[in-house]
Structure formats: C-alpha cells, structure tokens
C-alpha cells in the first residue's frame, strides 16, 4: 500500500515536471483556417494609460478594416541589448522597429523579412525620399524595412530655467559659444545643470558624432565599399574641448555624467537640466513617460558652425517584419505597417483618424517631423491634422523654421552603433577626468573602430 502511494506520488512529481517543460515550449502556430495572428510593438514601457488606450483603439480600427487579422500588441523600447536578446531568443514581435543605423547590418545578416512585394503593392514606394528608403533596402533594392519617421538632432531647452536665469526663452542659443554662455548663466543662477550630455548605452558616441557634424567633421569616410574611421579629427577634438570647458572651467554641466537616453529625459522633464542635445522627436516620450510640463519645453535647431561641411545628424526609424513569420503573417504585418505608420501621410481620412484618436486620448499631435516622402507631402499632412494639434509648436519654432535650411547628414554608414559604443568612454573620460587627453583618446578610439570596420 505504502509502495503504491509512493509510486503514485513519484508519478505525480514526474507529471509535474512534464507539465513544467511543456509550459516552457510556447507555440506560435496559428489554427488552420483561423485569422492570421500577428504581434506588433506598441509604446514604450511606462507610458501613460491613455496612450495605451489610444493605441488599442487603433488596433481595433485595423482589425475592423481587416477581419482576417488578429493583432496583439506588446510594449517596446528599442535598446541595443534588449533588441539583441529578443532577436536571438526569437521573441521579437511580428512587427518591430529599429533605428536607421541598424537597417543595413540586419539585412546583411538575414535577420529581417523581405517585404518588398507587399510594400510595393501599396503603391507609394517611388514617393519615398531616396536616402531615407535606402536605410531599409538591400543592395539589390529589395525592401526589408519601411522608414516610418525621420528626425534631426535638436537642442532641447527648459524655458522656465531660461527665464529664471534671465535669458529670453524665445531666443535659444544660435552658436556653440552661446550654448556655453547660456549654460554657465543657467548653472550660476538656478543651481541646475546648464547643459547636460548623454554618455551611456551608445548615446555618448551618438551625441559626440552629432556635435562633430555640427562643427564640420565626419566620423567615417567611404571610398567604394571601403569605410574608414575618421574619428580622430580636429572637429571631434574641438567638440570634446567644448565639453571639457563647460565641465571643468565653467562647471555648468551638473553632476551626472552617466546619462543615457531615459535618464537624461527624466532629469530634463524634472527641471534639472537647462539644455541637451537629442532627437527632435523626443517630446512625445517626455509627455508619455516623463509627464513634462509643456510650458517648460523648448526646441531649437542645433547651432551649425559656419562652413559648408557643418551638417545636422539625422536618423530615423524603420518598421520591420520578423524573419521567422509565415508569409501570411508577413503580409498582415505589412498591412499593419501601412495602416499604423504610413497611410496617415498619404490619405486625409487616415491622417484625421490617427490625429483624432490621439488627441481624444490627450496624446501629443503635431510634433515636428522630417519628411520621409517629400516636403510637400509632409506639409499636406500637417495641414490635415492642423485642427488636432495640441503640442506647443510655438515653443519649437526655432526648430520648425530652421530645420529645412540645415544640411542633413546621415549617420555613419557602417557599424554606427558599435562605433558609438566605443566613443561612449571617450566622452565619459573627458567629463570625469580633468586631465583626460582628448587627442589620445580619439586616436585610440579611431584604431579600435577601424578594427571593427575591418572585421566587417
């Protein structure tokens, strides 16, 4: 009797393990004949509930228009490490977004689905800005990623701190000398960081590259298929010199020199930072994640040094489809990309529906954007959504009026994120070590980046 009981208990234990292991193996197969199931990225974790509500409303609208497709959404924020883990673990949703910098590398490595035939069916591929579309195309012109948004790096500033420091909030700095003077004044009169800089998770390199571009330099040069690192240049040195002066001579950069994208936004929204560089599209996140007071916010164009070489670093986002998705899922995914990201730029009804849904949920509508098609298409879209615009555009006029007069330069063509990672520590050194040798650091980084480029 005892033996039977013991055997039964042991069998139960074995069954429990079997159940546990069965639970570990997820299944993504769709039932035969049922609706096509796709998963799509929604908003950044920590966004307001109303933003998620607006997103889910758009999912319902899509499903109503496409009865054969079931959409589930998942929170998503692109960061290098989390994206890599999801990619390797096979847990990326059917539709996800990546920065322009990664498009070519992911395509070369066979990690994105070829969605050319579906996208071409929508009839607007020839209207894309060529440079922008190339970020998501293979060498033979096949489309693996659809450009959904483009941005330029801008100078975000806190209007309230400007006023407290005796500066005119409607006159943001026009030169880098101004930036330095304003930063010192803000730090002296308010006790907050006059200017702050991102330095972690590849953002240090990203922002150093932006500043170097703005001063007239470039970080890579291309000759045919060969790409050469040109990080060790006088403009990058000048950029580091400017940071060093603000940090060590003026003491106007506050006390945190390990900011990443999330933490710098957090401190800026909390009123601890006077100015910082970042993508021009960050206001949406400042509202959804950081609850910024709209009255505080100002956006200016990045000052460009005189000379033909100075340029504004631009980038953008590609919507891509999981290479493991079935052809049916890929087609459904392309439809979602068209519905959620693209159609608003091309059809008035879609633009109005998108803007109304977001405005009803009190989400930002009318943020400054750069054209992914052409300027006229963007202007027409802005006219369509005009009645729903709820962002303080007047406080961003420096950017919206000045951006089209600036020369937009693309991100470094090869291994940009890896290059940025190497440059992170260069920027950190200059900001945390008063004796840092900027020239030496750049030379070492240059060699290191060349090794990465040579590896291919």
């Amino acid at each position: 009797m005892t033996s039977n009981r013991r055997t039964a208990a042991a069998l139960a234990a074995a069954a429990a393990v079997a159940g546990l292991l069965a639970g570990c193996s997820g299944s993504s197969q769709q039932p035969d004949g049922g609706p096509v199931q796709i998963s799509v990225v929604s908003l950044k974790p920590g966004s307001e509930q109303s933003a998620f509500d607006a997103f889910e409303e758009q999912v319902r609208q899509f499903e109503a228009a496409n009865p054969g497709i079931d959409v589930t959404s998942q929170e998503y924020e692109w960061t290098g490490p989390t994206f890599t883990a999801q990619l390797a673990g096979g847990t990326l949703p059917t539709v996800f977004t990546v920065p322009f910098t990664d498009g070519q590398g992911l395509i070369e490595r066979g990690q994105l689905a070829d969605i050319s035939s579906y996208v071409e069916g929508f009839g607007y591929t020839d209207r894309f800005n060529d440079t922008v579309l190339r970020a998501g195309q293979s060498e033979d012109g096949q489309i693996f990623g659809v450009p959904t948004a483009a941005y330029g790096v801008g100078l975000h500033y806190n209007r309230t701190l400007f006023a407290q420091a005796g500066l005119d909030p409607s006159r943001p700095p026009a030169t880098w000398d101004d930036v330095r003077t304003y930063a010192r004044q803000i730090a002296e009169r308010t006790g907050q960081a006059g200017y702050a800089q991102m330095t972690q998770e590849n953002t240090g390199g990203w922002m150093l590259t932006s500043l170097t571009y703005a001063l007239g330099g470039r970080m890579q040069s291309t000759q045919g298929a060969d790409v050469e690192a040109t990080v060790d240049n006088r403009y990058a040195e000048q950029a580091l010199g400017l940071l060093r002066d603000m940090r060590w001579t003026d003491n106007s950069m506050g006390s945190n020199f390990l900011y990443d994208w999330g933490t710098i936004n957090q401190d800026f929204a909390a009123g601890r930072i006077g100015m910082y560089m970042g993508g021009s599209d960050v206001y949406e996140s400042l509202v959804q994640q950081n609850n910024i007071n709209p009255d505080d916010y100002g956006l200016a164009v990045l000052p460009l040094a005189p000379g033909a070489e100075a340029g504004l670093l631009g980038g953008g986002t590609l919507a891509a489809v999981n290479v493991r998705a079935t052809p049916e899922q890929q087609e459904a995914a392309a439809r979602w990309i068209d519905f959620y990201y693209m159609s608003k730029y091309l059809r008035e009804d879609a633009a109005v529906l998108d803007a109304r849904t977001n405005a009803d949920a009190d989400q930002p509508v009318g943020l400054p954007e750069l054209p992914i098609f052409d300027r006229a298409t963007l202007d027409r879209y802005n006219t369509w959504i005009q009645p729903f615009v709820n962002v303080p555009l007047a406080q961003m006029s420096s950017f919206t009026e000045g951006i089209f007069e600036q020369d937009l330069a693309g991100e470094p063509p090869a291994h940009a994120q890896e290059m940025y990672a190497v440059l992170d520590s260069v920027v950190q050194s200059v900001l945390t070590d008063p004796n840092a040798d900027a020239r030496g650091l750049l030379a070492t980084a240059d060699a290191e980046i060349q090794t990465i480029l040579d590896r291919g």
């Binding site: 042991a10 234990a13 290098g80 990619l87 992911l106 006390s255 945190n256 520590s425 260069v426 050194s429």
Partner: protein
C-alpha cells in the same frame, strides 16, 4: 529487476526524475551548449559556423579584457579588505549581546531581503554627486567632501563595493552566528579562567573554531566577487570610461552590446575561461589550505 522495483528503486528514480530533469535542462544543458557555442560563430538566428579557437583568440586580443580583469581583481580586493571582515566583526559583537539579539539579526539581514535592483536605485540616489546628495550632505556635516562617487573613475569602484558589502553582509553574518553558537561554551570558560580578555578569547577560541566556516566563506566571496555584474551594470554601465567594466559585464557586452546580433561565441568563450580559472583557483585554494581545515 523485480526486487529493485519492489524495494522502491523505481519510485526513488521517479522522485529523482524531477531534479535530474530540471537540473539537466536548466543547468547542464546551458553549460554544454555554451561549450559548443564557444567554438562557433553564431547569432542564434542563422546557422552556426565552426570557427575553432577563433573566439578565444578574439577575446585574448581585446584590450578591454585586461581592463575588465584588472577591474574585477580590484573589486575583489576591495571587497575582501572591506567586505570580508565586516560580517565577522558584526557576528562576534552580536553574539556577545544579550538583549535584542533577534532585532539586531533582523536589522543585519534586512538588506539581503531588499530586492537588489531596488537597493541599487536607492543607493544611486544616496550617491548623488551634488553637494546636496545624501552622502555628501552627511559627510559635509563633518567637513568632508563633496565626493564624486559614481561620477569619477577613482571613486566609482569603491562606491560599488560599499553597496555590495551592505547588500551581502547580512547573509554571511547569519552563517557566522550559526557557527558561533556551535562553539563549546567550556572553551570560553577555560579561557576566562586562564585570564583571557575579550580580544584573546576571540583570537584564541572563536577564530580557530570558526576557521572551517571562514575558509569556505572566503572562497565563496572570491568566486562571487569574480562574477560581479549587478552593481556595475546598474550603477555605472561599466563607466566612467570603463573604470567599472568587469569580466561578467564584458561577457554581457559581447553578447548584447551590438544590436546587430551579439558575438555569442566570444561571450561563451570568455565565460568558459572564467569558469576554468575559478575552478582552478578553488582547487588550488583548497589544496593550499587543506591543513587549516577542520575536516
């Protein structure tokens, strides 16, 4: 066979099965998989390619490896000097206390209960480098500081060790307290009869009686500090300027820093190198200290 079944061999096997399966799937399989991946080039999406010892070569040629090794050794050394004696001293003091011993034990153990991420976020606030920061304010009362804490390559690592010691000391204190209870009281009485004071009792009775436990906690501490990851990852991301980049953080960066798909080959190669080093170190340690052990 029938006898084996009747004597409960089968049910014993079934009872063991969950453990074998869980351990096999979640511990041994990843280890074997890592060993295989260390000689492959793989992004876990496309088919892997055998590359022999190339991954090990890549790791050895990476200048950051030596930075990471030095930083890890530095962390381990400060943790040993600062963190190893603290739990012992606390345990000895607490064992001498007659009243509220339970309360002190609970207070000592409390940091272990705080989720590590929460603890790090809390300490990040304490380490605010502004003069108004928590630690800088407190030290300012004594005319010290302000210190840069995490914002300087010099002070970042000691700052990480301080938090790590605070977070882990409680667990070791409990182990020492349990061992102290087992020390025969007669030994202390005999020492007192011989005229020994507190210090002599600790040195001549407590320490020798605890040496078995001390030897084990020492090697455990060396192994755990060699694998430090959480603190540099959450506090500084390896910065400023790689001054807190540790071996495990480097492994993580090999695997996940490139958003184009990680270098899992290099990551597993370095993981294996670390595992072999720690196994060899442990063996050497136990061989060298075999005569000191109580067993």
């Amino acid at each position: 066979m029938t006898t084996w079944f009747r004597r409960g061999g089968f049910s014993t096997f079934l009872f063991l099965l969950p453990l074998i399966v869980v351990f096999g799937v979640f511990s041994w399989f990843p280890i074997v998989r890592a060993a295989v991946m260390s000689v492959q080039q793989t992004n876990l999406v496309t088919a892997p390619r055998f590359v022999g010892l190339d991954n090990f070569r890549t790791v050895f040629e990476d200048p950051l490896l030596w930075t990471a090794v030095q930083n890890t050794a530095w962390f381990a050394l400060i943790a040993l000097v600062l963190g190893y004696p603290v739990p012992l001293v606390l345990a000895v003091i607490m064992s001498e206390v007659r009243r509220f011993r339970g309360l002190y034990t609970a207070i000592a153990y409390l940091p272990v209960v705080v989720p590590p991420v929460v603890a790090v976020l809390m300490w990040k606030v304490f380490y605010d480098a502004r003069p108004e920061g928590v630690f800088n304010t407190i030290l300012g009362w004594f005319g010290l500081g302000p210190f840069q804490w995490l914002q300087s390559a010099t002070t970042a690592m000691p700052a990480l060790v301080l938090e790590a010691t605070w977070a882990a000391a409680g667990g070791t204190v409990i182990i020492y307290l349990a061992a102290l209870v087992a020390v025969p009281h007669e030994l202390y009485e005999a020492a007192e009869v011989d005229g020994a004071g507190l210090w002599r009792k600790v040195w001549h009775v407590t320490m020798p009686q605890l040496r078995g436990v001390l030897l084990v906690t020492l090697i455990l501490q060396i192994i755990s500090t060699s694998q430090v990851f959480l603190e540099p990852f959450l506090f500084t991301g390896g910065g400023p300027a790689n001054s807190t980049l540790t071996v495990l953080l480097l492994i993580y960066e090999y695997a996940f820093a490139s958003s184009l798909g990680g270098d899992y080959g290099a990551a597993t190669a370095l993981s294996l190198m670390l595992a072999v080093f720690l196994a060899a170190l442990s063996a050497l340690y136990f061989w060298l200290t075999r005569s000191w052990s109580t067993s």
